[in-house]
Symmetry: C2
Subunit: 196 residues, 2 copies
DNA sequence: TTTTGTATGTCTATCTATAGGTAGATGAAA
DNA sequence: TTTCATCTACCTATAGATAGACATACAAAA
């Protein structure tokens, strides 16, 4: 792995654990076996560095989700609404349980009032992309789903957006509460509610 | 108002906007018209200061909610489940719309991995108290509510805890997304979903 | 083939600003 | 005359950032 990528990895992990302002170039440098001036060689300043982290994180996360219109299960059938939700919840569950850390953008979003504009803008992109992904995925499934056939089509997108924002918000909040309580079962309570 | 309270006010506001590590004693001092050494007169160190902020915040928040077993509406009737939920959602809506700031504990929870233990412990108390409040309030209403009569009583508390954690998580997440997006309507989308 | 040039990645050393915190003087109030 | 609340002055550590030296590697020119 390139040094640049190592720096991004370390920075991401540290921010997810402690927040933007608790991470310094020196600390990142030490953890990657170089000096802080070498960190500045790759990223002229902290804003650039963290912006790169957020962009890469967003990309990776969306890749992990896959294309919202190409989700098929083991039998080759298009995902149902419930399967989409379950798939989406799993992405966050993994992030929490595998890395034992919050979502990067939950942390940055919480601090967003004190971040460089560029960083909070990228954080917002993460949120908006997630909402888009969910709406797109749910939309394609909803047309095949009888339960929504009563809904006027003009309102469908609005309704799905509400669902999407709700899911994203609940999952972000669940990770925060779960981590603060030191109890992963808190996350599962929310995850289960979302799949009811 | 006492200088001590002024310091707590300013500190709370600043943390809610920018996070724990973006707030310094000097900044707090300047905003309250004193010197940083005077801040240390009231609070020997930052951990003490922020712990006091969190405790006061939790107290105030619970006071604002009222006693969970004494909630009555205009007609003098005990709150229904929906009324309880609506009452609870309103408490956060106020915090967001009046102060234009996140919940203090959403911010601290997100940073909790990098906070002094004492501070994150107090943050956790906020979360647990909220969950308790909701479970207690919902419990008293659920006994009167037909829709839950099928539920086995032994499972009721578990079920209500799931609902409570879910609501808290969704509201915290909604505030974060809303603030990052600079769009309060995001919060309302979630609030409406929770009251469906 | 040797030399020279240029880019890459790293370092040491350093700057300025700010952080958290302390010591101890001072003046007003009880 | 002691307590309270404030100040000035200061300390040490760390933050973000920069300048410029140095080594290596590889490519073009002599």
């Amino acid at each position: 792995m390139s040094k640049r990528d190592e720096i991004l990895d370390v920075t991401e992990a540290m921010i997810r654990q402690k927040g933007y302002n608790a991470v310094s170039a020196r600390e990142v440098a030490t953890a990657t076996g170089i000096k802080s001036s070498s960190v500045h060689y790759y990223f002229p300043n902290k804003t650039d560095m963290v912006s790169a982290v957020v962009q890469r994180y967003t990309e990776n996360f969306l890749n992990q989700l896959g294309k919202p219109l190409e989700l098929v299960n083991a039998s080759g059938d298009k995902y149902s609404v419930l399967e989409i939700k379950s798939h989406y919840v799993s992405a966050f569950r993994k992030a929490l349980k595998r890395d034992k850390k919050l979502c990067l953008c939950a942390v940055l979003g919480a601090e967003s009032g004190g971040l460089p504009d560029e960083v909070s803008a990228h954080t917002n992109v993460f949120f908006q992309s997630n909402i888009n992904w969910l709406v797109t995925a749910l939309e394609s499934s909803s047309y095949q789903d009888e339960s929504t056939s009563q809904t006027l089509e003009s309102n469908l997108k609005e309704t799905l957006t509400n669902t999407a924002v709700h899911m994203l918000a609940a999952l972000q909040g669940a990770m925060i509460i779960s981590q603060t309580a030191g109890d992963q079962a808190m996350f599962d309570r929310v995850a289960n509610e979302l799949l009811k």
